[in-house]
């Protein structure tokens, strides 16, 4: 569904590359996870794919067709994005309803009478919430609205940038279930970016581990679950994610002065 070949991104001329030529392929209807620590470039990759950043090198193709850096309007009907912070990504002074129909209006699509209530129901919200403002919703409800906004154009691909990291674990569980259900119902393709290995492991079938702007390892989820990762960085990241709440903590290493 999505093909990324030798993607490079830098911010400004004569600066080092932030994303150093990465390639991966996502199959239709599958979830692909991009995991890494802050600053490794995972969100930058997502922004390049989504068209938010046009200054990239390399090739990105959707459904076999290569994309221009300047995305066409039709592209956004196929690919929508859900952002990390549901507090920041909704317009504070527009009702839920008016922000949900905005994508339809931008695409000059007919606005069906029950489009908003249908999509709210699809994400498990009461259609009556359409008349509320974001500040009248809880964090979990807002993230559901953000997902609804992405879904209203019925795109086959969703780009998810840390969709649960601003939420409590109990609410995170609800959103992860919702994303899994939606994928099953609609056959969506997900590209999920997260720093949380457990979230990735829950939702994705393939995982790429990024460090310093490169994919150090791409592997199936079974290898992650059984702990059979090859690259030293993947092993370190995985063992740190697992050490949580289980074995003894690692002894302190003297930190490299960054």
């Amino acid at each position: 569904m999505i093909d990324v070949e030798n993607l490079t991104v830098r911010f400004g001329p004569r600066t080092p590359l932030v994303v150093k030529g990465i390639s991966f392929t996502i199959e239709r209807g599958k979830s692909f996870g991009l995991v890494g620590e802050s600053g490794c470039g995972k969100s930058t990759v997502l922004r390049a794919i989504s068209g938010l950043n046009r200054n990239y090198g390399g090739r990105i193709s959707l459904d076999g067709k290569p994309l221009e850096p300047e995305r066409s309007k039709a592209f956004f009907r196929d690919v929508q994005m859900v952002f990390q912070d549901p507090y920041g990504s909704l317009h504070p002074r527009k009702t839920v309803r008016s922000q949900l129909i905005e994508p339809l209006r931008n695409q000059h699509l007919p606005i069906k009478e029950n489009a908003v209530s249908d999509v709210l129901k699809a994400v498990g919200l009461d259609p009556g919430l359409g008349y509320r403002f974001p500040h009248q919703l809880s964090g979990g409800q807002r993230q559901r609205v953000a997902i609804a906004r992405a879904l209203i154009l019925d795109p086959p691909v969703l780009l998810l940038d840390e969709p649960t990291s601003a939420l409590d674990v109990s609410v995170q569980a609800e959103i992860l279930n919702l994303l899994a259900d939606l994928q099953k119902e609609r056959g969506l393709t997900y590209l999920l970016v997260s720093h949380d290995m457990a979230v990735i492991a829950h939702l994705c079938s393939r995982v790429a581990i990024m460090n310093g702007g490169e994919i150090v390892e791409e592997t199936g989820i079974e290898q992650i679950r059984s702990g059979h990762v090859q690259h030293p960085y993947s092993q370190r990241l995985l063992s740190a994610s697992r050490a949580y709440g289980k074995q003894e903590m690692r002894p302190v290493e003297v930190m490299n002065s960054a």
Binding site: E37, G139, V169, N177, A198, H202, L237, S241, G245
Partner: protein, 285 residues
């Protein structure tokens, strides 16, 4: 147990003239141990931590049958007395070093400022020497260089070490850590926690560790208070979290995604109104 470091009985905190009750009837005692406070956002866990430091805004109304630090009443203390307690006796480590450090002051000078505030007789040279020792104690390599850096020049993990150094330099007996590692990556997080653990053990401090992360608390703390909607619903040993009695605690634990064997669906919480009134499970010692 000998006299507790902090003793809180029936603490109530309300905002907006009593319309919003953020904390309702919280009691606990802290000895020389690591006490975790867990709960979702809005459960009042940070408010409890700040109330002990008397750092809540004046609109907050705090009452308690008893709220003492080593026998001294915190509620009745004057602002002048509080200045002596804050930092010198009880230190507070905040979540995000990026926002908690002064961006236009070298980190070494910020740490020295704390030291000289609490030890006004110390000279500039003596303070600087102490800061360098402290930076070494939090395992920062090349303290001389880091001393002269500004907060934007250090990484998140190093920033949090600097915060810890700043809090420990005045040698408090109690540390309140409010989500000290939530802003850090997992690999860095473990380093900072291990460091905190070591420093607490060596100096024999009492720690209140506020976090929403159950796995972390389970690993790091001796005892856990579970807060829900401003109340402590359960108190138990961290090692016994798996045998938690309260449905809320059980629900929180079950909703964590797991790497090894993820369930097809994550169980979600069904909130029961009776949780708001039930007495605390476990002995509030």
């Amino acid at each position: 147990m000998t006299e507790p470091l902090i003793d809180v009985r029936n603490m109530e905190i309300s905002f907006a003239h009593g319309f919003v009750k953020a904390v309702r009837g919280v009691s606990f005692q802290l000895g020389r141990e690591k006490l975790g406070i867990v709960g979702e956002s809005g459960s009042g866990k940070s408010t409890v931590g700040r109330a002990i430091m008397r750092l809540l805004p004046p609109t907050a109304k705090v009452t308690a049958d008893r709220m003492t630090f080593k026998g001294a009443d915190i509620l009745a203390a004057s602002e002048k007395q509080m200045m002596d307690i804050r930092g010198k006796q009880i230190g507070l480590i905040l979540q995000d070093p990026k926002y908690s450090l002064n961006p236009v002051m070298r980190v070494g000078e910020q740490i020295a400022e704390t030291y000289r505030l609490h030890y006004p007789k110390a000279g500039r040279k003596a303070a600087e020497k102490k800061v360098l020792e402290m930076l070494e104690a939090v395992k920062i390599r090349d303290p001389q260089r880091v001393f002269r850096l500004y907060p934007h020049e250090v990484s998140g993990g190093m920033g949090q070490r600097i915060m810890i150094a700043m809090m420990l330099i005045a040698e408090p007996e109690v540390l309140i850590a409010d989500e000290p590692t939530s802003a850090l990556d997992v690999t860095v997080r473990l380093d900072v926690l291990a460091l905190l653990d070591e420093l607490i053990a060596r100096r024999n401090l009492g720690l209140i560790f506020i976090s929403h992360d159950l796995n972390l608390i389970r690993k790091f703390c001796d005892r856990v208070l579970i807060m829900y909607a401003g109340r402590v619903v359960e108190v138990l040993k961290a090692s016994e979290l798996d045998n938690a009695q309260h449905p809320y605690t059980q629900g929180l634990l079950a909703s964590l995604p797991s790497i090894e064997n993820p369930p097809a669906r994550l169980p979600t919480l069904t909130r029961d109104p009776s949780w708001l009134t039930q007495p605390t499970i476990g002995v509030p010692s």
